[in-house]
């Protein structure tokens, strides 16, 4: 079922600014706009992991922030925490930790996770307090809105919004198809 006559497309192409897993020249790029406090994103998290295992080197996965701040009071700081970890080279470690500990996202926990991951916790706390990474999170959010992200999670396959089921098999099938038609 097509959700729209014309498929929405990414207005901000994937590039150097993005956090990516997998080869830059992979034939298919999957972008997720997500919110660390969103239960649906929490459900998508292990699915994406399995998808990455299935596709292997054929897939590049990119995560962008789309915190729904009004619905999820911890989402904004959680997103900034992932970026703060990213500034110390551990974006994905924090990303995983946040989704695995989705039920515990108060600032005290965020700082605890930074310590667990071996980050400079003082710097991490300073950046979180100062909102150092808020503009970056906002830039992600803005790019999502202009690209037709209506909620979370929203996925894009090679720049085109994917509106079908993101359960494991349909998502893998769509990505396989994208590889094949490339």
């Amino acid at each position: 079922m097509s959700r729209r006559a014309t498929a929405a497309a990414l207005t901000l192409p994937v590039g150097e600014r993005d956090h990516a897993q997998g080869p830059a020249d992979a034939p298919v790029t999957l972008v997720e706009y997500g919110d660390y406090e969103c239960p649906h994103c929490g459900r998508a998290y292990p699915i994406v992991k399995q998808v990455r295992q299935r596709l292997g080197r054929r897939l590049r996965f990119v995560f962008r922030n789309f915190p729904l701040r009004e619905s999820h009071p911890h989402a904004q700081h959680a997103a900034e925490a992932a970026e703060a970890a990213g500034a110390q080279g551990k974006f994905w470690e924090m990303h995983d930790r946040l989704f695995e500990r989705q039920f515990a996202l108060d600032d005290d926990y965020l700082i605890e996770y930074a310590g667990d991951l071996g980050l400079d916790a003082a710097r991490f706390r300073r950046e979180l307090d100062a909102g150092t990474h808020a503009p970056r999170v906002r830039e992600d959010f803005r790019s999502g809105v202009t690209s037709g992200v209506n909620g979370t999670p929203t996925f894009f396959i090679n720049g085109v919004r994917y509106d079908e089921s993101w359960d494991l098999e349909p998502l893998v099938a769509a990505l396989d198809q994208a590889v094949a038609t490339r």
């Binding site: 959700r3 729209r4 929405a8 207005t11 729904l68 701040r69 009004e70 619905s71 959010f141 803005r142 809105v145 202009t146 690209s147 037709g148 992200v149 209506n150 909620g151």
Partner: protein, 167 residues
């Protein structure tokens, strides 16, 4: 007999003067379109408070408000629900923009915008961007069960900003 299924109606097109209206925004309070002259207005007609897709759409707009505010645009949600229903809905979803009650005569404003579904008795999921002079500059009706998102609104506001006052 059930009425035949309807596709999205034909919302008033770009270039049309936006029909003025005064509707209740809260018990004892009204909002008039004319009161927003000089700045863009976004009208978001939607079928009903509480129904899941509308909820997502209004929740999304609530999050996107800072982006709308960059264009000094005022967002107004409109449905045929009454003010007490709107009040409860807005409070529960923590919405930071007015919801207007197109309640009596039911759907009258929606009809004037080509955004009413007579068979269903509620508004279309229709969007309008109106410029500071009160002219509709962009309109769009989405299938009633599809969240139209905010990208079309933002493109229209961007075009409006580019056309009038170069920043």
């Amino acid at each position: 007999m059930a009425t035949p299924p309807q596709g999205p109606g034909a919302p008033l097109p770009a270039g049309t003067p936006a029909p003025d209206f005064t509707l209740s925004s809260a018990p004892g309070q009204t909002v008039s379109l004319g009161g927003f002259r000089g700045r863009p207005v976004i009208l978001a007609f939607y079928p009903a408070d509480w129904s899941p897709v509308c909820g997502d759409q209004m929740a999304l707009y609530n999050e996107v408000l800072p982006e709308f505010e960059r264009y000094h645009a005022q967002l107004l949600g409109i449905s045929v629900d009454g003010v007490w229903c709107h009040t409860a809905f807005a409070r529960e979803r923590k919405l930071h923009f007015p919801l207007l009650a197109d309640f009596e005569p039911k759907g009258a404003v929606s009809r004037r915008y080509g955004a009413y579904r007579p068979g269903d008795g509620f508004s279309e999921r229709a969007l309008f961007v109106i410029d500071g002079e009160g002219i509709i500059r962009w309109s769009y009706a989405s299938p009633v069960d599809v969240n139209p998102g905010a990208d079309g609104i933002l493109r229209a506001l961007e075009a409006l900003a580019g056309a009038s006052t170069p920043a």
